[in-house]
């Protein structure tokens, strides 16, 4: 159905952004494949014979798949998906935990060839689909709650984290649901972008814009968790993706100005010791690049709300988020418009607006003609 004329200013922009988000996220098939792999890896890590069998493992997704904010990378096929191996009773050191996880995964006939050790996690490659980052962790008894500590191989120590708390915080910010607790927690349903909240879509678009602006794997590109935290903190609860994203960008800009000449301080809202902005201290080019990205995005996105019509909206959406996704979105708009026309749901109101629903005169069927 054509979006009601109630939100005339943002109706078309929101519809196009919705289609862009749907195009960017995991497809239902990819999501189902990822869930299957996630479950299989989880079972292998906690099966009898695993060194974790007796230390009460809990396995749960973190990151974009847990938050419902997946975005297809621009220059490769694979989505990034993460899962946490959370151990209540690990009494050994961080490097031995990392090594034990690595060994356990390597002992599996199928995983052995997929494994790549990274700084904090162990990556399993599923070529052409996704990679699954396994993050081993121990329960943080001092900080309590859902806080964990993860081995940092470079530092040779533990780093504080709280992905489960973060997910709960994000869901509350999105006005989603409470946090489920299970032994191996199911990955949330894929959900089409329509069932997502404006905050989830805004995060997808922030990440996509980042991927368009920065070279693939550029060190100064702002990390997804930074963008997600800032967006969650700034989100005011509008139903319009366009209005929400603009408000988020304006709020981030205000915070940047208030923090100047220092940088923004961004931490996990559910574990203040997990400082996401710490990367700006290690990577000096990162903060100026982030500031430029926010300012440029805010300026151009604000213009989008003043653009009239499918053609000019699609052109700017193409510049912001990529030509291919913009054209696919425009095609869906005209297809839906066509379906409304063919089923007699287009009407003409006295303000001259074509929309759906009973308010207005039904438009009689006809065929376009001519060459």
């Amino acid at each position: 159905m054509i979006i009601q004329s109630a939100s005339l200013e943002t109706g078309l922009v929101d519809e196009i952004l919705l289609y862009v988000c749907e195009r960017l996220q995991l497809t239902d098939t990819q999501h189902a494949d990822a869930v299957r792999s996630y479950q299989a890896v989880g079972e292998w890590l906690q099966a009898p014979g695993s060194p974790f069998y007796y230390v009460a493992p809990t396995i749960y997704p973190q990151g974009s798949m847990a938050l419902g904010t997946t975005v297809k990378p621009r220059h490769r096929e694979e989505f990034d998906l993460d899962l946490v191996l959370d151990l209540a009773g690990w009494s050994d050191g961080p490097l031995s935990l990392y090594q034990a996880t690595l060994d356990r995964l390597r002992s599996h006939r199928d995983y052995a060839a997929r494994v790549e050790p990274l700084r904090r996690c162990i990556r399993l490659h599923y070529a052409g689909q996704f990679h699954l980052d396994v993050l081993p962790a121990r329960r943080d008894l001092a900080r309590g709650g859902t806080c964990i500590e993860v081995p940092d191989r470079t530092l040779g120590g533990w780093k504080p984290s709280n992905p489960k708390g973060f997910r709960g915080w994000f869901e509350v910010r999105s006005e989603l649901r409470g946090l489920a607790r299970m032994e191996q927690e199911p990955v949330p349903g894929n959900g089409d972008a329509r069932s997502k909240t404006a905050l989830q879509r805004a995060v997808q678009l922030l990440k996509r814009r980042r991927d368009v602006v920065f070279a693939p794997d550029a060190d100064e590109a702002p990390r997804s968790v930074l963008l997600t935290t800032l967006a969650g903190e700034a989100f005011k609860g509008s139903e319009s993706t366009a209005v929400s994203l603009l408000a988020i960008l304006e709020e981030i800009e205000d915070r940047i100005k208030a923090a100047w000449p220092g940088h923004l301080d961004v931490a996990n809202p559910t574990n203040p010791d997990e400082r996401f902005s710490e990367i700006w201290e290690r990577e000096p080019g990162g903060y100026p690049a982030f500031v430029d990205y926010v300012r440029d995005f805010r300026e151009r996105f604000a213009e989008l709300l003043h653009r009239p019509g499918l053609e000019s909206v699609t052109r700017l959406v193409g510049e912001l988020f990529g030509e291919e996704v913009a054209q696919a979105a425009a095609r869906r708009v005209t297809e839906r418009f066509r379906a409304a026309k063919d089923t007699g749901r287009l009407t003409l109101g006295t303000a001259g607006i074509l929309a759906s629903g009973p308010a207005g005169r039904q438009i009689r069927p006809h065929s376009f003609y001519g060459r």
Binding site: A330, G352, F368, Y369
Partner: protein, 141 residues
């Protein structure tokens, strides 16, 4: 119902068409002079398209003609010609069989032209005409 008889079709002249237009499309400037009706104004529809200034011209005994004056309709950069037009400024918004002079232009040709512009904007960006429609046989062109 049941096809017991058909209501007699009554031809609407330019003045009656004008009365319909003024009532149903108050934003259009409608004038009748010398048996010729011209309805001028914006045929774009928020939020689907930008504004387009155009005209519908109707003389008794002829089919209504539609024109877009400003901004001019444009080919795509890849040179694809505009689909479903009679001339560069004349969209073909209906098949000859769709309209007869007993039908109010206000409820037919006006929204058809507005709809045409939505698919025109879609075609401008994608290169595909998603509005459907018919093409005249080759020997009619």
């Amino acid at each position: 119902m049941g096809g017991s008889f058909k209501r007699r079709r009554r031809v609407l002249g330019p003045r009656e068409q004008a009365a319909y237009l003024r009532q149903a499309c108050p934003w259009l400037d409608v004038r009748v002079a010398g048996g010729c009706l011209v309805a001028r104004g914006n045929f774009g529809s928020v939020p689907w398209t930008r504004p387009y200034q155009g005209r519908i011209v109707y003389e008794i005994g002829r089919r209504p003609r539609t024109f877009i004056d400003d901004p001019a309709l444009k080919r795509r950069n890849d040179g694809l010609p505009i689909p479903h037009v009679y001339a560069a400024d004349q969209p073909c918004t209906f098949h000859p069989s769709n309209w007869s002079p007993d039908q109010p232009i206000a409820l037919t040709v006006v929204p058809w032209l507005m709809t045409w512009l939505v698919f025109y904007e879609g075609w401008r960006v994608t290169g595909d005409w998603d509005g459907g429609g018919l093409h005249p046989p080759a020997n009619d062109r």
